[in-house]
Symmetry: C2
Subunit: 363 residues, 2 copies
């Protein structure tokens, strides 16, 4: 295993080549690092900003070994990097965050159990491998509920709602035999996230709590600060801190939360999921915070001091999805808007093409 | 000549591959552009952030043609791009800023005459091609004075001070026969610069006036706002506006100025030189202004609306020159500091390795 003191001039390896990798690469370059991106598709937005690229399947052990041999520290930018690939790299070079965080977040059941074991609230859940499991789970949790594959889901893929008994067979069929999990619906007021960073020495910095609005299961809008009580914001930070500590996490991560409010107006938080990477709901930090989540991730992964996480005024971030990107000229003409595009060739429906950060009180 | 409406996905060509090109490339990538960098040395900081690179001499016409054929619009990041190379590219693809601005700034005599013809104050100057010219020029201007080559000087190179008659022969010899210019000393209080942008439609946006401190002829520190009267700041902007208009300039540029103060305390401005490119004294805009000079340059060159040029509080920018770069950890630990490194391998004395932006009043 290589020495883990990383200095400018060293090479950061990134597993995955999407827009998150692209923005990490940009932040790393600003800090004088070289970047080597490994991804399995030629049209990878991060390739354009990398010093070196490897385009190979995540099952190509020789390519992974060569990649690991060329970098001083490695990270990943999406949580569906196969665990075996991550483990192979982690055996050759420091991988931050580690395989444990990846494995936990890759499996919805393991993730829910991990969170529940920390004494943190989640939606009710039961493992489902077959029709018998599903009936038992529905009996325990009730309806409505949502059946999800345990692995490889994102942006609402691999999910099926069960609102009445007649939905159960179709939902199970939609899982295509994959190990699954039934989750109870949470009657939430809004969706929140905490984006935070933890360094190898355990130091921790959270950005302000985000309020997120999804459309078609894809994040549409993040607003900061979230309209929650100070106590709830503090609790969200404590949840993130506890999760990061339990995972011995290094890097930026997000905890997605549901906010519920009881009849008396009391707020509670329920963890939805953990993203062991920089997160779409943290894109606002790039212009709206003292340190962007991308630089913060690079700092943490390199073992450098975390940057200040303060916020500049009220901030909103809107994703540009599919044809939304055609509004780019409008955003360039708006003095409160800061435009970021990902360099993707084709604006397919549902595809994240870029985002706009809106600075409502810039000073 | 290609169509000049540039949209994200188009390719921006950059002549020159130093840190200025690197930071332009980074800003262009954020706006969804592809970047092709042309430079004559393999160890070019901008290459790492480019989609395509050409490493060839600026005299290689075939390479220049191929470069021009691969881009939708081109710019340059240093003013010593040979005029012939720029003209060749400009004949094939829009070059912004144009050859005229380059040619004017490449020749100190042409530049001084251009400025003086606008009715803007410069140091007294005379062309010097031989010892006879020099004696006549010294008689007209007096001493101390400074002899400079007309072309290819930067950071104090190609300059020799003449403080007494005995210095003249040595100063002339130092020019090595190159066409030269004698300039009178300006008894200045401080050095200032205006960094501003002009778009193809003539719209204009100036960042706040910078106060610059040089050490060993290299910019060491920029502070914003400069400690000058509002009237002087306004005059500096008007000078920049007049120069840009007269050059039909497109892109970001800097005007370096001397501030003088008479016995009664009245301030005057004397133009030192024009830099037809993003400028070291504008690096503070990257974290300290609403739009960075690099994004502003890309916007102007692409014919997009200029961004807002407002400033976030008091800002200072310190260059990290040579071994200064070894202080990188100190800056990362300073919550007011934002670090930018250029990815250069070797920290030679006098070499610009990076810079630190200090945000004194971030909100």
């Amino acid at each position: 295993m290589k020495e883990t003191i990383i200095a400018p001039g060293a090479t950061l390896g990134i597993l995955g080549g999407g827009q998150l990798g692209r923005m990490i690469a940009s932040a790393a370059a600003r800090l004088g690092l070289k970047v080597h991106v490994f991804n399995d598709t030629p049209a990878s937005p991060a390739f354009a900003l990398a010093d070196a690229t490897t385009c190979a399947p995540f099952t190509d052990e020789a390519a992974l070994r060569s990649f690991a041999g060329s970098v001083d520290v490695a990270t990943y930018e999406f949580e569906n990097v196969p665990r075996e690939a991550a483990a192979l790299v982690a055996g050759l070079v420091p991988l931050r965050p580690g395989v444990g965080a990846l494995a936990t977040s890759q499996d919805r059941l393991a993730e829910k159990r991990f969170i529940a074991d920390l004494g943190i609230a989640t939606a009710p859940f039961r493992p489902v491998d077959d029709a018998g499991d599903l009936q038992a789970a529905l009996a325990a949790i009730g309806m409505p509920a949502i059946l999800k594959t345990r692995r490889f889901g994102y942006d609402g893929k691999g999910q099926a709602a069960i609102r009445k008994a007649g939905d159960a067979d179709g939902a199970l069929a939609a899982m295509k035999g994959a190990p699954s999990i039934l989750e109870g619906f949470v009657d939430f007021v809004c969706e929140l996230s905490v984006v935070a960073a933890r360094a190898p020495d355990g130091s921790f910095a959270a950005f302000d709590i985000c309020e997120n609005r999804h459309e078609n299961h894809i994040l549409a809008l993040t607003s900061v600060p979230a309209a929650v009580s100070a106590a709830t914001a503090q609790q969200a930070r404590e949840i993130a801190h506890a999760i990061a500590g339990a995972l011995d996490y290094v890097g930026v991560f997000a905890v997605e939360l549901f906010l519920t409010r009881d009849a008396a107006g009391a707020e509670s938080l329920v963890v939805n999921e953990i993203a062991p990477r920089v997160h779409n709901s943290g894109h606002w930090t790039d212009f709206g915070a003292q340190t962007s989540q991308f630089e913060q991730h690079v700092r943490a992964v390199c073992g450098w001091p975390l940057g200040p996480a303060g916020r500049y005024g009220r901030v909103a971030m809107r994703n540009l999805i599919g044809d939304d990107v055609e509004t780019w000229q409008h955003h360039l003409a708006d003095p409160q808007a800061r435009l970021t595009l990902y360099g993707k060739e084709e604006a397919r429906p549902g595809r994240k093409m870029g985002h706009v950060t809106l600075l409502r009180d810039p000073e």
